[in-house]
């Protein structure tokens, strides 16, 4: 009964990309751990870059500096 939570920054991820992520992670858990797809739940949380801190600063600022 896996539950997977994928947390990423909100960067315009498309429905097709989400579908691919869900399909691949489910396939991994089925193949490696013999889990059942109908008992595998995967929740994707898209986080505003103002709400994701990294290296002591907000990702918004981190990316501005990195340019």
């Amino acid at each position: 009964m896996p539950y997977v939570n994928v947390r990423i920054t909100k960067d315009g991820v498309t429905r097709e990309q989400k579908q691919q992520i869900v399909a691949e992670i489910t396939a991994t858990l089925v193949r490696v751990l013999n889990k059942k797809p109908e008992q595998t739940h995967i929740v994707i949380d898209e986080i505003d870059t103002d709400n994701w801190g990294f290296a002591g600063m907000l990702t918004t600022e981190y990316r501005a500096r990195a340019k």
Copy 2:
């Protein structure tokens, strides 16, 4: 000191329904485990069906197929 996180799909859940869920889960924890209501926190996350994967696909697609 319980902390409960309820994650559900975003399907127009009303404030009354949220209130009922919070009241009942709190009552369960008070009755079964003798927890204090004022130390019991329950956070409800409503997840877009495009962000909830199930059975290897997005719930949006799963529901469309189920019709």
Copy 3:
């Protein structure tokens, strides 16, 4: 497709208590939100009192002071 995470302090909760919590929370979600039991997952995390901070101190210490 609810996923519920119940986090409580590790205080010798019995299997019967866990079973009751799972049964009651599932019943609440079925009754209030019309969810399906076979798509409802509830994970209980039991946390050592040294790892649960409350009111600025560890619960171990909080409880010792409360005596």
Copy 4:
């Protein structure tokens, strides 16, 4: 490799406040546990007061009663 999740009610927290929270929590983990800032991630979730249950009721109602 710390991952920190800060969940708070959605109350108009400013970018400056988020930056300060991220900077201080990162500094704590670096100082106390010798963690590396570039491996420290902090995600802030702002929760609607209708979705945060406390003391058996929604925070929206709790605050209205407290006035």
Copy 5:
């Protein structure tokens, strides 16, 4: 900066299986979303079957009935 939490039942998962899960999920996020491996963290939580509720009962009991 993805953070992924994989929650599974505690069933004697080996280090090799964990390594494969981490490698594959990281590869998915790099390929589909162009994420950097050195900013991708994946935490695997192994949950006792007495602590995972499914279909209104503990997984321990669910599996015993399924035999």
Copy 6:
């Protein structure tokens, strides 16, 4: 009503270090966001290095290579 989850690798963190982390994060939330200590919960999860994936491998392996 903040809830904070700090996830770190299991590296012999002492009770004193946990106490300091809890005290400092609580102080940050009180000072920056005006939160109440008695409504602030902080849970520390210590994760085995075999269960924390980073840069596509388990932390156990990552550290062995880094030596």
